[in-house]
Symmetry: C2
Subunit: 409 residues, 2 copies
Amino acid sequence: MGSSVKIGIITIGNELLSGFTIDRNSAWIGQRLLEIGLKVHVKKTIADDADMITKSLDELSQDCNHIIITGGLGPTLDDITVKTLYEYFGDSPVFDEEYWKELEKRFKAINMKVPTLNRNQAHKGDKVKMIDNSFGTARGMHFEKDGSNYFALPGVPKEMEGMILSYILPHLEKKLTSKVHCETIRTTGLPESILQEKIVDLIESKNCDVAFLPHRMLGVDIRLTTSNHQSLLDLKDQIVNRISKYVYGFNNDTIEKIVADKLKEQNLTVATAESCTAGMLSAKLTNLSGSSQYFNGGVVCYSNALKRDVVGVDSDLLDKHGAVSEEVASELASKIAKKLKSDIGIGITGIAGPKGGTEKKPVGLIFVGIFYKNNVYIKQYNLTPNRKINRQLTVVLCLNELRKLLEKN
Amino acid sequence: MGSSVKIGIITIGNELLSGFTIDRNSAWIGQRLLEIGLKVHVKKTIADDADMITKSLDELSQDCNHIIITGGLGPTLDDITVKTLYEYFGDSPVFDEEYWKELEKRFKAINMKVPTLNRNQAHKGDKVKMIDNSFGTARGMHFEKDGSNYFALPGVPKEMEGMILSYILPHLEKKLTSKVHCETIRTTGLPESILQEKIVDLIESKNCDVAFLPHRMLGVDIRLTTSNHQSLLDLKDQIVNRISKYVYGFNNDTIEKIVADKLKEQNLTVATAESCTAGMLSAKLTNLSGSSQYFNGGVVCYSNALKRDVVGVDSDLLDKHGAVSEEVASELASKIAKKLKSDIGIGITGIAGPKGGTEKKPVGLIFVGIFYKNNVYIKQYNLTPNRKINRQLTVVLCLNELRKLLEKN
């Protein structure tokens, strides 16, 4: 698939080598490439050093015919990357009057003069195509040599991403022998292996690349890639029908966005009473701008006293069943909905760990209650020994339950 | 510094190339190496493919004399990495009865039989030193060839980290001509450039490597590295004296851990009333096991009705000054402390954005109130246009204020 395009990535920066910056740029590029059916062959990270840049270009061009370089395009005089690239491709930059005027215009619009430092960015040679930068002043560079393409992009994520989307992907798509289609089905609530088992027969019968992509324990994406669009849509429908309970969205959907949309559509409001997740669900529900439309607020009732005094859970219930129980999760949900005059109330109580477990109530035992239309829906989870995972997972599982409820109604 | 040790890292895995997994392993390794004064020379990421592995070993061994390989040490039969490494170093693995017995013992302790699949991991050659794995069954491998060292480690972070700490760092430290000392001063509340200005004279006069390491907008680490321990300690003291207000900890300290320790030490409890951060402060305060000792709970009072009805903020105050005001932050702090019978109350109100700003109260305007010993300390922040950054930054700034208060008292 994807013809003879072979891609290498070079990321430049000392902070990438020392680990102060985690290399998210190349991961982002890898994902965008995969969406058009292309795989990255090799990635290399090096310091901002002329010899290393030259050597890596030599090395990668042995195997790859498209090389994407990010980082090292700043405005400082001693910018090694730009200088090295011009030398490597036997080109010499001259001052680019036209781009300088463009920069002056841009800065004038915000009442500023172009800093002299930026003069370095207004140069170009005659062997290079400059790539527009919608978010900054450093343009990208596109060289061709011996049938191979070399793209140099800034390291600033937004600027780099803009150039990949507007220039490099269209360039690559033209080279593909067939258009590749890609759809991602986002699921949560089932581990990869069980998910696979459930749909293995569907996958086997179709001429479609299927990848299972677990996001730690929070969910599994199923990515379908093929050049046959109809067969992609058919398979997608079949899979979604088979495992609809676990599918929360597609492609770039997030579960909080899906839930937020449904709440707004149905004109519903939510309130939360969180014990072990201690505000994480509320924080997630308010990640999106405009969340006050559907989120009223919540109580982080870490102590029993709060569950009783602020949320209004019956103290007999707390004594009889303990804070981590179906009964208390249920009361938290219904009481918080009433107290905060909300259509939906969510109660979460559990043992996040790593300490505090007992034989009867081990670490990882979590109860979620969702009050809606005079019913309380209860879910019990037996998660992991890990505090962080338990808390994150509970939030995602809970949002997925809420999604299912809102879809039914 | 650090003698002639030259380090290369090879990470193996398709999911790293496609960007589904972000390469945090090599960043983590880079950080640990820097702490002993070593820099990574080059990093390469490749697929689990014999030719690519062989080629990359050849390439990196030209420049590097220590090569760390991570990933591709699973228990499956077709494990290419292990096979390729044995071939590359002209070694042939035979069944390792001793390690198999060890595995049987380990599995017996948890009432299981060793899966047959794991037999592959109980092999070793006679040119390899095996590296113990405290967290899993796949051992690491250490080969030597032509004066260079090659370490192959699993890709599972915990297992990889264990081997770096217990085996590779000690190995490297022996090779260093001089012991390198490293200390990190963790700060928050000042941007990198201003921080630099404040201490530039101190730095210039000392024979010490100083690096400023910003963590997005959340804080800046100042890392001091030198072989002269006394000069390191002197400089550290001088810097901390100069900017003590902004220093929250050292090395691997986190701000929530520092605050938690002080709260426990002083036997104090905290309650929160969060508007724009909507539970993020509570979630952070409860990241650590045992947080119920100092954290009572909180209210996520997203709406005005909740600020009034649940927390008890005076409605006249809300009408007169608006929800985002010094006065409301102050009331949130003092009322929540009283309501939840806590020593300390924290109130947060602000405009996280990207919408909802006015000329008088723009996006990024945040008020934090901390009630303690019958006083309320108020901080006003004018942050960024970015919702996510504003919310994260507020939590960190607020924890830093709390830290300063607890240090004074």
